[in-house]
């Protein structure tokens, strides 16, 4: 073991060293009790410290509230506190002895779809909240659609306010069944429904004594045990080159390494690779993993690859297995979420950033807009405005090796950027991913005729 080794086992930094990391997002509105749930997760896992709690108590008193308002823990900006709303994604950090958590806490209202999309883009799990008294409503369907669209692998349905429906199993079971069917048809691979009362603390951190009919995990137990990483060996191996490392020192006159973060899959020494878009091939001669030489590395490790041949490779190139299925193309079709205040229109000249490459692009067409509440398609919308989800056809100045988002979240995603001032305009997911599924649902529903559910 070299001194720069990455083992966390042998250094003696005990208790919390061997933990994994889970990034998750919560979506819901104040009315659903989202802030209360987040506050309780933080509070009951002892992640809120005395001075933070005192500050919240002080601020609550100043506002004339009797009890500390846990929502104030997550509302960071002055305007948010003054208006009692959440404007932006807030990131929260907490840990249990088993796991470290990064929570993207996103406001759930329709005008903040872009924030939900932002939070879900890096999440491995999404918590969707519903009020047990209202069941699955438009907003719930929108949240499920965002999770499905962004390909969040695990979704938790937290049926909140069970105390207000007398902790009745039937209420929970009906909501869970409806949601599971809906999200399942959107392609959400795993759905876990949990009956909770965030206010009373039932099934958030500790198991409820008032719902003995429920035998599943509490929210925190589920967060602690859900698998954070699936086996990357089945994923397409993708390595976007960030930077070329050439020390050119007397000791290392010929060292030439390609630095980057493995976006997907596994790389091994001896692998035959191809460099895209040029198509030149070589062999992985060595992998330097931040100070030690290794024979195998996987996503999301940051490493430096050394190749057997001297190729002309620079930032923006993508290294993939020689037999990689992805073919660089100048024509792209994608599902996008428009995030800027100025609209996106056919004919717009933009920049497209994919992995480590930024190229010019033209918006050729915007064939449809999608309403997330009911998944209805609106053909030829003419433009996409902030928080719109739609289909976009693009032509890029150079061929790009963009994967289908369904195959790789990291190399199937891109940004559209305003070349004039650098504003991030649109977040894109290549391929037919979600819109196809949605269309299938609509068609299935149309075919089912009178048996269709209430979209």
């Amino acid at each position: 073991m070299s001194s720069t080794g990455t083992s966390t086992i042998d250094t003696g930094d005990a208790a919390l060293a061997a933990t994994s990391l889970l990034r998750f997002a919560t979506a819901g509105s104040v009315d659903d009790g989202k802030s209360t749930l987040v506050g309780r997760l933080l509070h009951d896992s002892k992640s809120v410290l005395t001075d933070q709690l005192e500050a919240v108590e002080r601020a609550s008193l100043d506002r004339g509230q009797d009890a500390p308002d846990l929502a104030l823990l997550t509302d960071g900006l002055r305007a948010e506190r003054e208006q009692g709303i959440t404007i932006d994604v807030a990131y929260r950090y907490f840990a249990t002895p088993r796991r470290r958590f990064i929570l993207a806490d996103t406001p759930g209202h329709v005008q903040y779809t872009r924030n939900m999309v932002t939070g879900a883009s890096t999440a491995e799990l999404a918590v969707v909240l519903v009020d047990a008294r209202n069941g699955v409503v438009e907003q719930t369907r929108r949240h499920a659609a965002v999770a499905a669209l962004l390909r969040v692998p695990h979704v938790v349905l937290a049926v909140n306010k069970m105390d207000l429906v007398d902790y009745r199993e039937g209420v929970f079971a009906a909501i869970a069944a409806e949601f599971t069917r809906y999200a399942g048809e959107l392609g959400v691979p795993e759905i876990t429904a949990i009956p909770i009362s965030a206010l009373q603390g039932d099934n958030v951190v500790t198991a409820s004594a008032r719902m003995d009919w429920y035998g599943g995990p509490t929210v925190l137990e589920h967060l602690e045990t859900v698998p954070v990483s699936h086996d990357p060996s089945g994923d397409p191996a993708r390595f976007p080159v960030q930077y070329v490392i050439r020390p050119q020192t007397p000791e290392l006159p010929d060292y030439r390494g390609y630095a980057g973060q493995i976006a997907s899959g596994v790389f091994r020494t001896g692998d035959r690779i191809t460099v895209l878009p040029s198509g030149r091939t070589s062999t992985v001669e060595g992998i330097d993993a931040l100070g030690q030489s290794v024979d195998v590395a996987w996503a999301p490790q940051s490493v430096t690859l050394r190749l057997a041949d001297d190729l002309d490779i620079s930032r923006g190139d993508l290294i993939a297995p020689a037999q990689a299925s992805v073919r660089p193309s100048q024509d792209q079709t994608a599902t996008v979420c428009h995030v800027a205040d100025r609209p996106l229109k056919p004919g717009d000249r933009v920049l497209l950033k994919h992995a480590t490459r930024t190229v010019k692009a033209i918006v050729k067409d915007i064939p449809s807009r999608l309403t997330l509440d009911d998944l209805s398609q609106h053909p030829v919308p003419g433009e996409l405005v902030a928080n719109d989800i739609g289909r976009v056809v693009l032509r890029t100045a150079e061929a790009l090796p963009i994967d289908a988002y369904a195959d790789s979240r990291r190399t199937g995603s891109f940004l559209l950027i305003d070349p004039a001032d650098g504003t991030t305009l649109t977040a894109g997911m290549a391929g037919d991913a979600f819109a196809e599924a949605a269309r299938d649902v609509k068609e299935a529903e149309a075919a089912a005729d009178d048996e269709g559910w209430d979209f």
């Binding site: 070299s2 720069t4 990455t6 083992s7 966390t8 042998d10 930094d13 919390l16 060293a17 061997a18 994994s20 990391l21 410290l49 005395t50 001075d51 997550t74 960071g76 900006l77 002055r78 305007a79 404007i87 994604v89 807030a90 990131y91 950090y93 840990a95 470290r100 990483s229 699936h230 086996d231 990357p232 060996s233 960030q242 930077y243 490392i245 050439r246 020390p247 050119q248 020192t249 290392l252 973060q261 931040l290 100070g291 024979d295 999301p300 490790q301 940051s302 995030v339 920049l351 950033k353 480590t356 979240r409 990291r410 995603s413 891109f414 940004l415 950027i417 650098g422 991030t424 977040a427």
Partner: protein, 316 residues
């Protein structure tokens, strides 16, 4: 298959049975390295804010790893309030020399001497750092400025982006931030603007200490428990110095203390501690019921939005 990497990863990934697990520190390290390399690839003149405090030391360590075996393609910048702990300045200079790095120093004292800044009645110089910082960024045309800020530190910071665009006045407008999706950072900016970059955004205080332990990173001695003469003010133990303490009614006493954060001596308090090794420090932090800023920073107690206000003006 060489070495122990695979083996230890297997132990860690026990939950899935996959040999491809990574610990939370490995994931955070990889993310920070990715951020450093993105900036190196997309900016002309990046600089690392380097005070000799633990977060900036960890940043430098990560940056060196990101480009090894090549030298670091960035220089360092410190805004010296004139009230810094000598042990920390010594560490700063030693590290810069050891890694053969260019260190730019902007002195708040120079600004006070020629009248561009005036001393505040409370004696703290933390807010006075903003002007020298912005001047230095302009003079050297730095287009990316790495800061050690972490989102867990303070609630205004919780809404900060990894790439945070600043206009020519250095101001931060929380309503005009770019949404940041996936790991696609948008660093485009106009001439005169710059981008503040926070590679430790997703780290907590505990992560930083665990990483320091794991990587055996050397820190200024004041982070570990030692005996020191201190006096009590505003609920904190402050160290005496030219900056204006103690006053007549304040008495010095000798205590066992250490520093959880390191900044301007006038507003950085020591905490009572016997944690003189890194393992003891980690144990102490794990048990602490106070945040590091709550325990040690007078400047953040000024108002509910103290940090937000300073950030808007171009503070770190």
């Amino acid at each position: 298959m060489k070495g122990t990497r695979m083996t230890t990863a297997t132990v860690r990934a026990g939950e899935t049975g996959s040999p491809y697990g990574l610990s939370h520190l490995e994931v955070l390290e990889s993310e920070a390295v990715h951020i450093f390399r993105e900036v190196a690839g997309e900016f002309e003149r990046p600089v690392i804010l380097y005070s000799g405090g633990k977060d900036s030391i960890v940043m430098l360590h990560l940056a060196l790893k990101a480009f090894a075996p090549a030298p670091l393609p960035f220089s360092l910048l410190h805004v010296d309030t004139g009230h810094n702990f000598p042990e920390v300045l010594h560490h700063r200079d030693h590290q810069a020399a050891h890694h053969n790095l260019r260190l730019h120093i902007a002195h708040v004292q120079d600004y006070i001497d020629d009248g561009r800044l005036r001393e505040r009645p409370d004696g703290t110089r933390n807010p006075l750092q903003t002007l020298p910082l912005l001047d230095t960024i302009t003079t050297h045309r730095f287009d990316a400025v790495f800061g050690g800020g972490r989102r867990d530190e303070e609630k205004a910071r919780a809404k900060e982006r990894v790439f945070s665009l600043r206009d020519e006045f250095g101001t931060w407008n929380p309503r005009r931030q770019r949404p940041e999706l996936w790991q696609l950072y948008n660093g485009r900016h106009s001439p005169g603007e710059h981008v503040r970059v926070f590679p430790l955004s997703n780290w907590t205080e505990l992560d930083v200490w665990q990483y320091i332990a794991h990587e055996k990173i050397e820190l200024p001695t004041i982070y570990y428990a030692h005996t020191r003469q201190v006096f009590h003010r505003h609920g904190m133990w402050l160290a005496p110095g030219d900056w204006g303490g103690p006053h007549d009614h304040e008495t010095l006493q000798t205590r066992h203390v250490r520093y959880r954060t390191v900044g301007d001596m006038s507003c950085t308090g020591a905490v009572d501690s016997h944690a003189d090794t890194i393992d003891k420090v980690i144990t102490e932090i794990t048990a602490s019921r106070l945040t590091e800023r709550g325990a040690t920073r007078a400047d953040d107690k000024l108002s509910e939005a103290a940090m937000e206000d300073r950030k808007r003006e171009g503070y770190f």
